[in-house]
């Protein structure tokens, strides 16, 4: 009773810290850990312990194929958003003030509309009689309408568009937090624009790159509406599969097994990615 009162010198007593953290912890337990345990339980006990769902998952090449495709699409989208988003974040960080806010607004606009509307916008642009095909034909570049929509390419473009903000914002906030002294110091020490970027800005922004890539990658794994509307038959993604098992077949156990497998693979990839980035960071300032 007396010990927890010793809150002094800006230090929280363990109890005070626990009190402060408990709402978040409760939320996490209720909203994440409980469902997670439930999910794992469901995939293993039906009602007796059995690996039958995992056997089906591994035994049927379809599911591995879809898992690989999902990871592939998520990976490509992550790379695309990174390539497009990093320069945007860099420009935003340089601009500062209202100009940065304007660029940020442009980047954020896709988030203000529903996934449905965004996806249909791509449909309108890319369909057979859509703006892109009409323009190409009008310019005499093509004779037959190209098959643009309902392809993997269309899906990648649409997902990149939607997920761009999740890449730009973390990188931007990390870049903003880099003291302006650091690039100045580098210039003072003889580094040109490229060297400053290569040796200072880029390595220091890697935590933002990590956060952004992770966010985009994980969000990509869960994409559901866009693949259905913009993608083709080959872009069946794992979320759609889980949804199908959940809502069309009411096979929750198998859906849980797929979800658990996805979670496991995602965690593995995240861990690997962390490692790669860290090694990269080391290599970046070794020589």
């Amino acid at each position: 009773m007396t010990r927890w009162r010793q809150v002094r010198g800006g230090r929280w007593s363990p109890l005070a810290a626990m009190l402060l953290l408990s709402p978040m912890a409760l939320l996490l337990i209720a909203g994440f850990f409980y469902p997670l345990v439930n999910l794992l339980g469901r995939s293993l006990w039906t009602p007796e312990f059995s690996l039958v769902h995992y056997e089906r998952l591994l035994g049927e090449p379809l599911y591995l194929l879809i898992l690989m495709r999902t990871l592939w699409i998520a990976g490509v989208v992550s790379v695309f958003t990174l390539l497009l988003g990093y320069p945007v974040a860099l420009v935003m960080a340089r601009l500062g003030g209202w100009k940065a806010a304007l660029v940020a607004a442009c980047v954020l606009v896709p988030l203000w509309t529903s996934a449905l509307v965004r996806s249909y916008a791509w449909v309108v642009l890319l369909q057979r009689n859509g703006i892109v095909n009409d323009t190409l034909r009008g310019l005499g570049l093509t004779e037959q309408p190209l098959r643009l929509i309902h392809t993997e390419g269309a899906l990648l473009v649409a997902m990149t568009h939607v997920l761009l903000p999740f890449m730009v914002l973390p990188i931007y906030s990390v870049l903003r937090a880099i003291s302006t002294d650091l690039p100045r110091a580098a210039a003072n020490l003889g580094a040109g624009t490229w060297s400053i970027f290569r040796h200072v800005t880029l390595p220091l922004s890697l935590p933002g790159v990590f956060a952004g890539t992770l966010m985009v990658f994980i969000l990509s794994l869960g994409f559901y509406i866009t693949p259905a509307l913009v993608g083709g038959p080959r872009t069946l993604m794992i979320a759609t599969l889980i949804g199908q098992q959940m809502t069309e077949l009411l096979n929750w156990s198998f859906a849980s097994a797929i979800a658990a497998a996805l979670l496991a693979v995602t965690l593995l990839l995240v861990a690997a990615f962390r490692r790669v980035l860290r090694i990269d960071q080391m290599a970046g300032h070794a020589g």
């Binding site: 002294d181 110091a185 003889g190 580094a191 040109g192 200072v200 220091l204 300032h285 070794a286 020589g287």
Partner: protein, 365 residues
């Protein structure tokens, strides 16, 4: 250590430099010459334009008007990375993702030095700042003073002829600061560098500098050796900014080429040297006298009462109340002749005329 000795220092010449940021005139016609190997401090209150001036020499800002030359070469518009000027930032600006050795090696790497040459120079630089063995640490694993020394090593490892320092010791505690002051000074002499040293701490400027330039509102108030500034401040501002000063206001009642007599507002006639133009009989004036030049006695001078007695170890400070509004501070050794005086005692206050300086009241900023 001999390895680090480059071509020695180079002169820095700043001519009529002006710089505005929107409506703020950060620098208005600053001219300044630092000789090769000179330790020149830029001293002034916050916002007086010190950093702006340093940034221009480093190449991070370009003057609106005027020129900057280093070693006789006009560098006014030369990009920062080609200036070959060392710089120590106030918050060190060490690269947090690089080890100490990598930080120090960075300028050498940018200059394409061979690996072996690089590591031996880094080693030398580490020795120079007494951090040998710390090469593999990250900056975050060092104390503030150690980080400061790394920044210093990094700024000199590529043998720049000029070293710029922007309040480099401001974040350190007093003891460490004093030690570092000596170290910086030692290093500067050792390497023969020209140093431009920004500080707002007049004591630091006095102890370290060959010369000091006092900045105020984007202008240079006075440039001179520390004792010149202390003994002969060219303006009331300098007198106020450097050292401690009693300011007494009144009206000029008598004036010749050297001396000026002032009738104080609180009554009493005092004398001091003429320190600036613009004094005439009948005009307002301010007389400045250092507390350590004020003498207390019972025979001559203006009369007052001791209002406060402040003991600080080696020194004793006495505040003497003259009339209603004026207080004069007098300082002497705590074992000196005034040690016995106590609050409430009547005393007479005087000084030698050559120890006091009279400025026109209008010169007040």
């Amino acid at each position: 250590m001999a390895e680090l000795k480059g071509a020695g220092g180079a002169p820095v010449s700043i001519a009529a430099v002006e710089k505005r940021f929107g409506s703020v005139a950060a620098l208005q016609g600053v001219s300044l010459d630092a000789g090769a190997g000179e330790f020149l401090s830029l001293l002034g209150p916050s916002g007086s334009g010190k950093t702006t001036l340093l940034m221009m020499i480093a190449g991070f800002e370009i003057p609106d008007r005027g020129t900057i030359a280093i070693g006789g070469r006009d560098v006014t518009e030369l990009p920062a990375n080609q200036r070959n000027v060392g710089m120590v930032f106030q918050r060190y600006a060490l690269f947090p993702h690089m080890t100490v050795a990598e930080n120090i090696g960075f300028p050498l790497r940018m200059r394409g030095l061979a690996r072996s040459e690089m590591s031996s120079r880094v080693e030398d630089a580490l020795k120079l700042v007494r951090l040998d063995g710390y090469g593999t640490r990250l900056p975050s694993q060092l104390s503030g003073g150690q980080q400061q020394r790394v920044a210093l090593a990094r700024a000199v490892v590529f043998r720049p002829p000029v070293l710029l320092m922007d309040e480099p010791l401001a974040a350190l505690d007093k003891k460490l600061r004093q030690a570092m002051q000596l170290e910086v000074r030692h290093l500067q002499r050792e390497l023969g560098l020209t140093v431009l040293y920004v500080t707002h701490d007049q004591e630091e400027a006095l102890t370290m500098s060959d010369r000091i330039a006092v900045l105020n509102d984007g202008r240079i108030e006075q440039i001179g050796r520390p004792e010149e500034l202390y003994e002969m401040p060219a303006s009331a501002f300098v007198a106020d900014f450097i050292g401690e000063t009693n300011f007494l206001s009144g009206d000029v009642v008598g004036l010749d080429a050297r001396e000026c007599r002032v009738l104080l507002d609180g009554d009493g006639l005092v004398t001091g040297r003429v320190a600036a133009d613009g004094l005439a009989a009948g005009t307002g004036a301010r007389l400045a006298v250092r507390p350590d030049r004020v003498r207390l006695g019972n025979a001559e001078g203006i009369e007052g009462t001791i209002a406060e007695r402040i003991y600080s170890g080696a020194m004793l400070m006495l505040a003497v109340r003259i009339g209603e509004t004026t207080t004069i501070m007098a300082r002497g050794p705590s074992n000196g002749p005034d040690a016995d005086r106590s609050v409430g005692d009547r005393v007479r206050v005087s000084w030698k005329p050559e120890d006091a300086r009279v400025y026109p009241a209008a010169a007040e900023r």
